[in-house]
C-alpha cells in the first residue's frame, strides 16, 4: 500500500500548516467559535501530517526537503530522523489536547487578547516543528529563536508589571544565551567542520583539538538555554506568570523540550557520542546536569506556589535528558530521548491539573489544596497519575525513561549518576505525590473559604477535564504501548 501523499509533501505541509493557521486565526477575531475551530483544525491537520510522516519513518524512510542555500554550505533545509520524529509526534499530539484545554481555560477566565494568544501559539508550534525537522544547525537555530520570540507575547499575556518583568527575564536569558554562547558555538562549528548538517557519528570528530571540543561543549550546554541547565534555568520559573495552558504546552513541552531536543541532537549528530566519551569535559558537564537534577528538586520542595513547584520539577527532569545525552552511551541516548516523550505527557497532565484547580477553585498555593480532592476528584486523580509517572513508577510511561537512563548510566560506568537518579526519584515522591494525597485525605486548611458547599463536585470546565483525563490516560498507555517509541529511539543512528 502506498500512501496517497509522499512523505516529503507531508513534511512541507507539516512545516507550513501551523503558520497558515496563524494567518487565518486573526480573520475570525470577532467570531471566537470559528477562531477556535481554526486552531483545532490546524492542530488536527498538523497531527495527521506528522503521523503520516511517522508512518514513513517507521518504514525506514527519511523524508527530506532540500531548501535554498543561504550561505556557503549552509542551506535552509529539513530532514526527518527518529529523534526529531519523536519530538514532532509529542508536540503535535499534545497541541490538540492543549487547544481543547485552552478553550475551556481561556473562556472560563474570560481572558483578554485571545486572538493574539492563539496566533502566537500556532507560530510557536510551527517553530517547534521546524526545530524537530531541521536538517542542520542553522535551520534549527532559526526556529529556536523564532520559538523564543513567539512565546514572549504569551509569557507577558497578562501585561501587568509582573508579567512584563518576567517577560524581560525570559527574553533576555533565552535570547542572551542563544546569541552569546550558542551562536558563537555554531559559527565555530562551521569554521572547524565546514558544515552544519546533522550527521550520524557527528561532524567534529577528528577535526578539532581536545580543548576546542571542550570549549564548544561548554558553549552548547549553557548556550542552549531552553534546556535550563543550572545556572541558566531561572527563565523557566519566571515564565510561570503566563496563562496555565502556555505553561503546560510550552514550558513543559514545546520550549523546554526544544531545548533538550537540541541538546540531544547536538550531542549525537554534531559531536557524536564517541567523541563525547573521549572528552573529560562531558563528564564535568554531566555532573553539572546531575547537580541540576538534585538541586532543582530540592528547590521545588520549598515552593508553595504550585506552578513554581512544577517549574522547578521541570528544570530537574530536563537535566535527566541532558545527562542522558552526556552519558555518551547508547542506552543513555535511548533513555534521554524517551524521557522527552514521557516527561512531556506526565508534566502536561500536572499543569493541566494546576490550571483546572485555578479555574475551578482559584487556588494557586500547595498549602491551600488539602481537602480539595473531594470537590475535584477527577483533577486530583489525574494529578496523582501524572505525579507517579514523573516519579517513574509502573504502570506509567515515566518508568521506561528512568529505566533506560539507569541502564545507560551503568553502561557508561557512572554509578554516581545511578545514585542521583534514585535520589531524585525519592525527592519527586516527596514533593509531588503528597499533593493529591493530601487533597483527598487531608483536612482543608483552617480559615479557608470552602464556599459552604462541602460535598458538591466543582470541577473545571469540560474541555479542561477532557484534556487532563486524556493525558492521564496517555501516561498509562505509554507504559503498555511503549514499544513503537522504543523502536523509534533505538533507530537513532549513533555512528
Amino acid at each position: 500500500m502506498t500512501p496517497p501523499v509522499s512523505p516529503a509533501t507531508l513534511l512541507l505541509a507539516a512545516l507550513v500548516i501551523p503558520y497558515v493557521g496563524a494567518a487565518l486565526i486573526p480573520l475570525f477575531h470577532r467570531r471566537p467559535n470559528i477562531r477556535e475551530a481554526v486552531t483545532l483544525v490546524t492542530a488536527a491537520l498538523l497531527f495527521l501530517c506528522v503521523v503520516g510522516i511517522a508512518d514513513a519513518v517507521f518504514a525506514g524512510a527519511r523524508p527530506e526537503l532540500a531548501g535554498i542555500s543561504i550561505l556557503p554550505r549552509i542551506a535552509f533545509s529539513f530532514r526527518v530522523e527518529p529523534l526529531g520524529m519523536l519530538f514532532a509526534l509529542v508536540a503535535s499530539s499534545l497541541w490538540i489536547l492543549n487547544s481543547i484545554y485552552s478553550i475551556g481555560y481561556m473562556r472560563a477566565h474570560d481572558e483578554p487578547r485571545q486572538t493574539s494568544y492563539y496566533v502566537c501559539f500556532a507560530i510557536a508550534l510551527g517553530s517547534t516543528i521546524g526545530i524537530a525537522f531541521a536538517a542542520n544547525l542553522f535551520t534549527l537555530f532559526l526556529f529556536y529563536e523564532a520559538l523564543t520570540l513567539s512565546t514572549y507575547p504569551l509569557v507577558t499575556h497578562d501585561r501587568d508589571a509582573e508579567a512584563m518583568r518576567s517577560g524581560r527575564v525570559y527574553l533576555l536569558l533565552l535570547l542572551g544565551t542563544s546569541m552569546v554562547l550558542f551562536l558563537p558555538a555554531i559559527v565555530a562549528t562551521w569554521a572547524i567542520a565546514g558544515t552544519l548538517d546533522f550527521a550520524p557519528g557527528g561532524i567534529l570528530a577528528g577535526k578539532a583539538s581536545d580543548a576546542t571540543v571542550a570549549a564548544l561543549l561548554v558553549l552548547y550546554v549553557f548556550g542552549i538555554g531552553k534546556a535550563a541547565v543550572m545556572p541558566v534555568h531561572s527563565w523557566l520559573p519566571a515564565a510561570m506568570v503566563a496563562p496555565t495552558p502556555v505553561s503546560a504546552l510550552l514550558h513543559a513541552v514545546a520550549v523546554v523540550k526544544a531545548g533538550v531536543f537540541t541538546m540531544m541532537k547536538v550531542m549525537v549528530y554534531v559531536f557524536g557520542i564517541d567523541l563525547l566519551r573521549q572528552t573529560t569535559m562531558s563528564e564535568v558537564l554531566l555532573y553539572i546536569a546531575a547537580f541540576t537534577v538534585v538541586a532543582a528538586s530540592l528547590i521545588a520542595m520549598a515552593q508553595d506556589n504550585l506552578k513554581r513547584r512544577l517549574a522547578y520539577s521541570t528544570v530537574s527532569q530536563l537535566s535527566y535528558i541532558v545527562a542522558g545525552a552526556l552519558l555518551a552511551s547508547q542506552l543513555g541516548v535511548v533513555g534521554g530521548s524517551l524521557q522527552i516523550a514521557m516527561h512531556a505527557v506526565g508534566k502536561i497532565t500536572l499543569f493541566f491539573c494546576a490550571g483546572a484547580i485555578y479555574v475551578a477553585a482559584h487556588k494557586t498555593e500547595v498549602s491551600e489544596l488539602p481537602g480539595l480532592g473531594r470537590t475535584m476528584p477527577i483533577t486530583f486523580a489525574a494529578f496523582l497519575v501524572g505525579a507517579l509517572s514523573i516519579v517513574g513508577l509502573p504502570p506509567f510511561g515515566g518508568l521506561w525513561s528512568k529505566w533506560f537512563l539507569v541502564l545507560g548510566a551503568l553502561q557508561a560506568h557512572q554509578i554516581a549518576i545511578v545514585a542521583v537518579l534514585m535520589l531524585s526519584s525519592l525527592l519527586n515522591i516527596a514533593y509531588l505525590v503528597p499533593i493529591p494525597l493530601r487533597a483527598f485525605f487531608g483536612k482543608p486548611p483552617a480559615g479557608s473559604n470552602t464556599n459552604g458547599d462541602e460535598s458538591g463536585i466543582q470541577e473545571a470546565p469540560l474541555p479542561c477535564l477532557i484534556a487532563l483525563t486524556a493525558t492521564a490516560v496517555g501516561c498509562v498507555l505509554l507504559f503498555f504501548f511503549a514499544e513503537p517509541l522504543y523502536a523509534l529511539v533505538s533507530a537513532i543512528p549513533l555512528r
Binding site: 543561504i70 550561505l71 523564532a146 501585561r159 512584563m164 533576555l172 559559527v187 565555530a188
Partner: protein
Amino acid sequence: MTAVLPQLPVLQVVIPLFGAVLAGFLRRGAPAFTVALVATWAAAAIACTMLWQVIAGGPISYAMGGWAPPWGIEYRVDLLSAFVLVLVSSVAAVLIPFARRSVTLELDEGREAWFYCMYLLCLTGLLGITATGDAFNAFVFLEISSLSTYVMIATGPDRRALLAAFQYLVMGTIGATFYVIGIGFLYLLTGSLNFVDIAGRLAAVGPDQFPAIVAALAFISVGVGLKLALFPLHAWLPNAYAYAPSFATTFLAASATKVAIYLLIRLYFSVFGYAVDYAALPISDVMIALSVAAMFVASTVAIFETNLKRMLAYSSVAQIGYITLGIGLANVAGLTGGLAHLFNHAIMKATLFAALGCVFFRVGSVSLGEIAGLGRRMPITMAAFTIAGLALIGVPGTAGFISKWYLALGALDDGSWLLVFLIVASSLVSVLYVGRVMEVIWFREPTSRACIAASDPPLSMLIPLVVLAAAVIYFGFDTRLTAGLSGDIARALIGDLR
C-alpha cells in the same frame, strides 16, 4: 542603446544633477517630485545595468571629456563601486514615492521643490563619490552631497533642525578639509590624483617618504571618519538624523554614511593598500577598538533615548561600528561581513526610519511616550518596524544575521574569541533598545488621542515601507547579492593588499 551603454558611468551622475537643476527651476512641489522620481529610477536602472556589466566584463573605465587617465578625470566602476551604486540608487528608488506625502506634510509651503532639488544634488554627490576614480573629484562630490545635506536637514519641521544642520556643517567642513589635506599630501608625493595611479606610484615611494604617507593616511582617516560617523567622530549624527525631515533622515541613513565608508574602503584597500605596512601601523587595532567602542557605547546611549529617531541614530553609530569592524579585521570573512552589513544595515535602517516617518505622518511625534499601543492602530507599519528591529538584533532569518555571521567568522579567523563574544554581546544590547520599543508599541494601551485615531499611512508611503521590510527578510535568505558579492569584493580587495 549601444550608443548609451558606454556613457552609463557619467549618466549615472549627470541625470540626477540635471534633475536637480530642473527641480529647482520648476518651483512647485508636484512637478519637482516627478522629476526626482524619474531621475532616481533612471539612476537605479543605470546602476543595476552597470553592476551587471561589471560582473560580466570586469571594471568599466570612462575617460571624462575624452581625456585619458591619469591626466583627465576617470570614472571607474568596479565591483565595489557598482555594489555601492546599486545600494544607494535602489534604496533611493524604493523610497522616493514615500517622499511625496511625507515632504508635503513636514515642509513649509513653497520649499518642496527646493527640497527635491537638494535631494537630487545629494544623490548626485553620493553617486559621484562612488563612481569617480579621481581623488579630488571625490572631494568635490563629497562637498556637493554634504552641502545639500545641510540644507535638507535644515528644512526639518523642528526649529532645532537649524542648529543640527549648523553643527553638521561645522563638523562636515572639518572632515572635508582633513580629507583634502590628506589628498594634498598624496598629490605632493605622487603627482597624481587618480586612485589607481596613486596606488601604483605609492608603491614606488622610498622609505624616507613614509612619514608623509602616514600623515596622508591620518588626515584621510579622520576626515572620512567624520563623514561616516566613526566613533568618537559621530557627534553630529544624532541631532542631524533626529531633526531632519523624515524622508531626508531615511535617505541619508541608508546612503550618506555608507558612501563615506565606501570611500574609506577604497582608500585603505585600493590606494594605500600597496604602500602601507599594515602590520607596522596599528590601523587594524585602532579600527577594531573604535568599532567595538561604537558598538557598545552608542548602543548603550540608544537604550536611554526616548526620541526614537535619536535612538535609531545612535543605533546607526553602533551599527556602523560593525561595518568598520569588518574593515579593521581586514580578512576575507571579516570584510565580507562588513560589506554585507553596509548593504543590510542600509536596508534595515531605511525600513526603521521610514516606519518612523509613517508614525510621524499619522501621530505627529516619534517620542516613545506618545506611541504606546500603536501596534494595533498601524499594524503594517509597526510590523515592518518590528521586522527591521529584529534584523538590527541579528535574529536569524533576517538580513542582520548574515552580516553578523560573517563578522563572527572573521573574528574567529583573526583568532580572537574575545571579539566573537563582543560582537554577539553587543547584539544583546540592541535587544534592550529594540525590545523596549516593542513593549511600548505592542503591549501598552494607546494613551494619546492622535494615537487612538492613527491608522496605517497612505499606500504611497506604505508600499515602499513594505518593500523594504520584505527585503530585510529576503536578504536574510538569499545572500547572493549581499554576502556573495561582498565575498568577491573582499577577496579582490584583500588580494590587492597582498
